[in-house]
Symmetry: C2
Subunit: 241 residues, 2 copies
Amino acid sequence: MGASSGLNYQPLYKQIKSLILQRVIDGNWSPGEALPSEQQLGKEFGVSQGTIRKALDEMTAENIFIRKQGKGTFVSQHSAARSLFHFFYVVSNDGKRVLPDSKVIGLTRASANKQEQNRLKLKAGDKVIRIKRVRFLNDKPVIVELISLAVKVFGDFLKKEEIPNTLYELYESQYDVKVLKAVERLKAVKLKKEDASLLGMKAGAPVLEIDRLATALDTRPVEWRLSFVDTSDYYYLSELT
Amino acid sequence: MGASSGLNYQPLYKQIKSLILQRVIDGNWSPGEALPSEQQLGKEFGVSQGTIRKALDEMTAENIFIRKQGKGTFVSQHSAARSLFHFFYVVSNDGKRVLPDSKVIGLTRASANKQEQNRLKLKAGDKVIRIKRVRFLNDKPVIVELISLAVKVFGDFLKKEEIPNTLYELYESQYDVKVLKAVERLKAVKLKKEDASLLGMKAGAPVLEIDRLATALDTRPVEWRLSFVDTSDYYYLSELT
DNA sequence: GAGTGGTCTAGACCACAAT
DNA sequence: TTGTGGTCTAGACCACTCT
């Protein structure tokens, strides 16, 4: 296998996996596009189909690819439905998942503050775009969201009116940023006065604060999102395994 | 493979998996015990080592087994550390995980109320055990917990003084109940007056409510737990993938 | 050295989708 | 019928652990 002697041993399929991952990061295949067949990839890399399979197995588990029996292996793609299932854990009290609507109420550009520098790994002076929006579930305002994006990643951004509901779709199609993982930190806090009217609640009411950092394929942090959720009629779902 | 004709097709390794799972449920092997080697299991079931491996792969991913290269495959076991990592998502603001202490302040037996009947799938009149305790992180009271257990599963329970800190270890070793999954529903609520003094907070302060239902290997719901967390110095961690 | 899990291969066959 | 992913096998060899 040519790798080496004891210390840095990496199984073949792991090495193949890195190579394939790099191709995805490089944009070798577009989201939604089919990869070459496992047999072809095997020939190309000089390994057996089983080894390719094991590499693709792991990457499929990581939501990088989607397999369709009889059709092929495809680069995964964000869609409204996928965003809903993978990155939206607010569920109605009766257990039903609801697709939120959004209304953008602010879009500004500024120098990153300390928190943004910390979370997005920016330097003092780096610029960010800030989006503030309200999300509606069943036509009721339920979530206030503050979103921060690094200008150096996203460049100039859309006009307020053009910002779509499902941002991760946009990041992927327009900015070549594929969000695959996010870490959320949850707290119960008092609703701020400035957000009270947006949610139709009293200032000081308990709301769920969700502090989310989303990272791209190459593990760069790309979006920081601070949400405040009215959990009277909804809850946040977490499955432990 | 003898299975059948198109409709109910189950791959061999899935069938093997069911058989092995049933053996674990039946207590064929104890927690911490080693299974026969993959080769031996292969002979026993009349399949290749690769097929056994694929079954064990999935079960290892489900935390039913733990593999140790060079040693064998073992039935997983709850331990304080494992409980901490798999079932305790409250993390200090600086990101460090802390093992909680507990103080039991109530242990009663009663007929299941509506919520308990619903969650634990009990009938009217079925008995439950209720435990109330306070959990400390770094010697500070942070969580109030209300735990409900079905008497028909756990029978008579320990004395208040004998209840250990990590319950899932106890369920497994004493009651043959292996908790592998749990679903948590999170909300932000006002701290109740009766719990205020326990956490050293004011009544009405925002706290994180965690409604957890834990299920056993055989998918029975076995424990319902309602927690109220002071998230001033801690947060709830959720990783989305 | 013996035993266990972990990797890798080459080849066969099955299930599914498209044509 | 063809091509794709999905399953299964038998055998080889590697890495790790214990004696």
